[in-house]
Amino acid sequence: MRRRVFISACGVALIGSLQGKSSKADMDELQILLALAEVVVPDKDPATWQSSTAADELVSRWRSLEDSRRNELKTALQMLESEAGNSFDGKKFISLNKKQRIALVSRLLDRSEDFASNFSTLRPLIVRSFYSSKLGFERTGYRSTTQFIGYPEHVELAEIWE
């Protein structure tokens, strides 16, 4: 049931974000990315990487990557998928449980330089997405300190800058 919600949420995101351009392959890759995000930044709320400000942020950042860079990273996602199939009786990465996903990512990091290289880009992408989101701020207790009501009374010096 939870998996169905997950796919549905991704589908909504994709339909909104890749309107007219989406392919099943694109959608599959995004699902793998979000499943990887659950491994990289596991949250206490299991729905976080299905539908939250963090998931939105990650989808947005993924979409804004240059095509060439995104294609490179897709190879890492495809490796996850392929390794999942080989190691777990043809299962997809998104169908694995948490423990299996972690084991698979760890194994690939140990064995594949290509995967490790792409993971060094995917990890920051996911981490930045999560901890830049409203949810990430909540989890860390961070409060933005840049919210100013208005400029201070500062007439004499300010005049110089006008």
Binding site: V41, Y131, S132, G136, Y142
Partner: protein, 509 residues
């Protein structure tokens, strides 16, 4: 512009240049200041995130530390943290007192009036309770409130018998001379949009403009010109449109930083200076220093919100003069600074973890404090800024190439500082999580045009006058003979103030 004559031309408008421009223009001189960087409007550009750090175009040798600075009206201080230490008396006598480095040709007592002058102009805040400093007068403003993280740190330091003191800051702790007090928004590093940080664009530059100084942003000095007798005659510079001009003066004051000064001196060749300016000693570009910069982070049982406030809280200088048998010369300052922020930056840049390990660390982000280490590095002739043999800038000049490698001395110092930080934090109640690293960059490049009495062993004299070029002065961080173990802004400004005072006195007499 062609044919325009000035009493003085100042190259650069940062910590040193801004002070010189203000002082000379305040004395009625006709002053031109040429700044390669842009002119930011703090109230607009910093608030809207428009200010960009423009790279200096430095080439770094492989395995070299990567010191860097900022081109802007106001210089790197536009984006600096605001820490405003004086050097200690012994810093000026390291050869005599500690058997390492070189004695400065200037004493603390000679510089003290200029420290005070700059502190008063800037509205420095602090407390004269640091027992390691020479007895001094009160700061113009009281120290800032002590954050919860700093309280933990101070408690730990006292428990170990150390002597914590409020870190002096050039950030207003109360309204001062028409500027507001700090709001503790923690945006100092992005440019202060409130106006309380006393970086030059808020203090010396506006004052210089009022005095009538001609300050030009996006103007790059290409060469310093000299005549057949070797005397300075002016500068050739490029305006924002790329048009070349010459401005005339028999006094040029170079304040372009330890990283950029050597390149300008070396490419400024004239009939009497075929090897470039200041070349007599062969030391232009040599003895680059960068401090031993690093971070230590610890975690406490309760929320301390270490990402808020200012980048200087409480400091400890108990190992400023070194530590017996520790395998390094001189010592370091430890002070409570701001956490890397926002949290995404910390999680991405500083940590390599993922999974539960990452989340466990990040969930305690608001219980962490960060300490800064500023350690004295030794001046090695092998650390330098030289012209790159191949790479050229847009004007066809060789790009500056930096070679800086730490030795065991610096690494031992850092190790000792981290051990001290760890012991203090644990004594203050921190748990056993920690994060530390030695920085591979530095915002404190120093040396490269060292000051000294002997023309064969230094580039400038005790006043910043170039030994072998009449009319050429240098008065920024490049003239440091040793680096000391405190942030350099205040000392650079005090040296500049002293040089300007000397120039004004000489002209008057």
């Amino acid at each position: 512009m062609a044919g325009m004559k000035y009493d003085a031309i100042v190259v650069g408008s940062g910590a040193a240049g801004s002070v010189v421009v203000e002082a000379l223009s305040g004395a009625g001189w006709k002053v031109l200041a040429l700044e390669e960087g842009s002119w930011y409007n703090p109230f607009r550009d910093f608030a809207e995130g428009r200010a960009q750090r423009i790279p200096l175009g430095i080439v770094y040798e492989k395995d070299s530390l990567r010191p860097n600075m900022v081109k802007a009206v106001g210089g790197s201080m536009v984006f600096y943290a605001g820490v405003f230490f004086r050097m200690h008396e012994n810093d000026f006598r390291t050869r005599t007192r500690s058997g390492c480095g070189s004695d400065w040709p200037v004493t603390y007592q000679e510089l003290a009036p200029f420290y005070k002058k700059v502190e008063v102009f800037s509205g420095a805040s602090g407390s004269n309770t640091n027992i390691f400093e020479v007895s001094r007068e009160a700061y113009p403003n009281p120290p800032h409130p002590v954050s919860k993280g700093s309280q933990y740190f101070a408690r730990g330091a006292r428990a170990l018998g150390y002597h914590p003191a409020p870190t002096p800051m050039s950030i207003l702790s109360r309204p001062y001379r028409g500027r507001p007090a700090c709001t503790y928004c923690a945006m100092c590093g992005q440019g202060c949009m409130v106006g309380d940080k006393s970086s030059p664009e808020m203090t010396y530059i506006p004052a210089a403009i009022k005095h009538g100084a001609d300050i030009r942003a996006n103007h790059k000095v290409l060469t310093i010109e000299t005549n057949n007798t070797g005397r300075v005659t002016g500068v050739v510079f490029k305006d924002q449109d790329g048009t070349r001009h010459k401005a005339h003066s028999d006094l040029v004051i170079l304040c372009g930083s330890a990283l950029l000064n050597p390149a300008l001196l070396m490419r400024s060749r004239g009939p009497a200076h075929p090897e470039g300016l200041g070349a007599r000693s062969g030391l232009v570009g040599k003895y680059l220093m960068c401090h031993v910069n690093g971070r230590y982070m610890a975690r406490f049982p309760e929320v301390v919100n270490g990402f808020m406030g200012i980048s200087g809280g409480i400091d400890v200088q108990d190992f400023y003069e070194g530590a017996p048998e520790a395998g390094f010369h001189r010592g370091y300052t430890l002070y409570v600074s701001l956490l890397p922020r926002p949290p995404a930056l910390f999680a991405d840049w500083y940590l390599e973890n993922w999974g539960e390990e990452l989340v466990e660390i990040m969930n305690s982000y608001n219980r962490m404090i960060r300490l800064a280490v500023v350690g004295e590095d030794q001046a090695y002739i092998t650390n330098m800024v030289t012209p790159d043999p191949e790479l050229r800038d847009e004007d066809g000049f060789p790009r500056p190439r930096v070679v800086y490698r730490r030795t065991e001395n610096e690494l031992n110092l850092f190790g000792h500082a981290i051990d001290t930080a760890r012991r203090i934090c644990r004594a203050g109640g921190a748990d056993d999580w920690e994060f530390f690293h030695i920085s591979d960059s530095s915002a404190h490049p120093l040396g490269t045009c060292r000051m000294g009495d002997d023309p064969d062993k230094s580039v400038v004299d005790r006043w910043g006058a170039c030994h072998d070029v009449s009319g050429l002065y240098i008065c920024d961080g490049s003239i440091y003979p040793t680096s000391a173990a405190v942030n350099p802004a205040l000392t650079i400004m005090a040296l500049a103030s002293r040089t300007a005072h000397r120039l004004i006195q000489r002209r008057s007499s």
